[in-house]
Symmetry: C2
Subunit: 133 residues, 2 copies
Amino acid sequence: MKRAPQFKRTPQRLAILDYLEGNTSHPSAEDIFRTVSKKYQSMSFATVYNTLNTLAKSGTLRELTIDPERKRYDPDTSRHHHLICVLCGRIVDVPEGVTVDLPGAMAHDFTILGNHIEFYGNCPACKKKRKIP
Amino acid sequence: MKRAPQFKRTPQRLAILDYLEGNTSHPSAEDIFRTVSKKYQSMSFATVYNTLNTLAKSGTLRELTIDPERKRYDPDTSRHHHLICVLCGRIVDVPEGVTVDLPGAMAHDFTILGNHIEFYGNCPACKKKRKIP
DNA sequence: ATAAATGCAAAGCATTTGCAGTAAA
DNA sequence: TTTACTGCAAATGCTTTGCATTTAT
C-alpha cells in the first residue's frame, strides 16, 4: 500500500486557501489566479490547477460543473445546491431543502451516493437592471 | 429586426438528427461524429458542432453539463433529470418526481426558470461487476 | 536528506471560427 | 440566385504535463 503524499504548506497554497476560505463566489481557476497572483507575483497557473486538483481529490474543495465554460470551485463541501443567474452568470448557494429521491423503480436498481440541484433563474440585481418582475 | 435564418435540411444534418432521434445515451460530440461519419465519410467535426449548436439554440436539443470533461447532448427536451454512474460514466434519465423549490426567503428575491437534478451513484451493471450491494 | 511543490513552457483536448467552395431553397 | 451549410485547417480557451529548480519537512 502506497502512503498518501504529504501535503506541504507552501506559501502559494496558503495564499490560495486563504482566498478560498469562506469565499462564496464560486471562482474559476482564472479568478483565483488573478486575485492570488497580485499578492504573489510569481504564482503560476500550473500551481493554481495543481493545488485545486489536490484539494478536490482530498475532499477539501468541491468542483462545480454548473458553468459550461469552465470549472468553478466551492470551498463549502457541505451538502447544498446552486442557482446560476442566466443573465449574469453569478452562482449562488442554495441550502438543502427537501430531500430528493430516485423514483421507486430506479431506487431499487441504482445506488445513490449524492445529488446536486442546479437552479436556473434571474438574480435580484439582474431583475432590477432588466426590470423583470 | 433580422429574420431568423432558414434551417436547411442537409443530408449531414438529417444524419445527425436521425442518430439522435430517440437516443437516450447522452452522446458527446465525438460519439456523434464517430457514428455518423461512418455513414458519411466526409462529415467534419465543425459540422457536428455547428449542427448541435444550432439545434441547442432552437431548443430542439439539450446541452448537458453533468460530465466535467465534455458536453453531452440530449434530444429529449422534456423536463427530466439525470443520474451519472461514477464508475462507468454512463448517464441515465431520471423522470421528474417531486417538485423542488427554492427556500422561501430566496424564492422571494430570485426568479426561477428551471432546475436540473444530478444524481451521482452506481448503475446496476457496475454494482454487479464490482459486487456492490 | 528526501519527498514534494513551483514555475515555465510546451502539449493536450474540446470547441470555435474564417473562409472558399458547395448545395438547399 | 440567394442564403445558408460544409469541410478544412487554423485558432482559441481551459486544463494538464514534463522537467529542472527550489522548498518544506
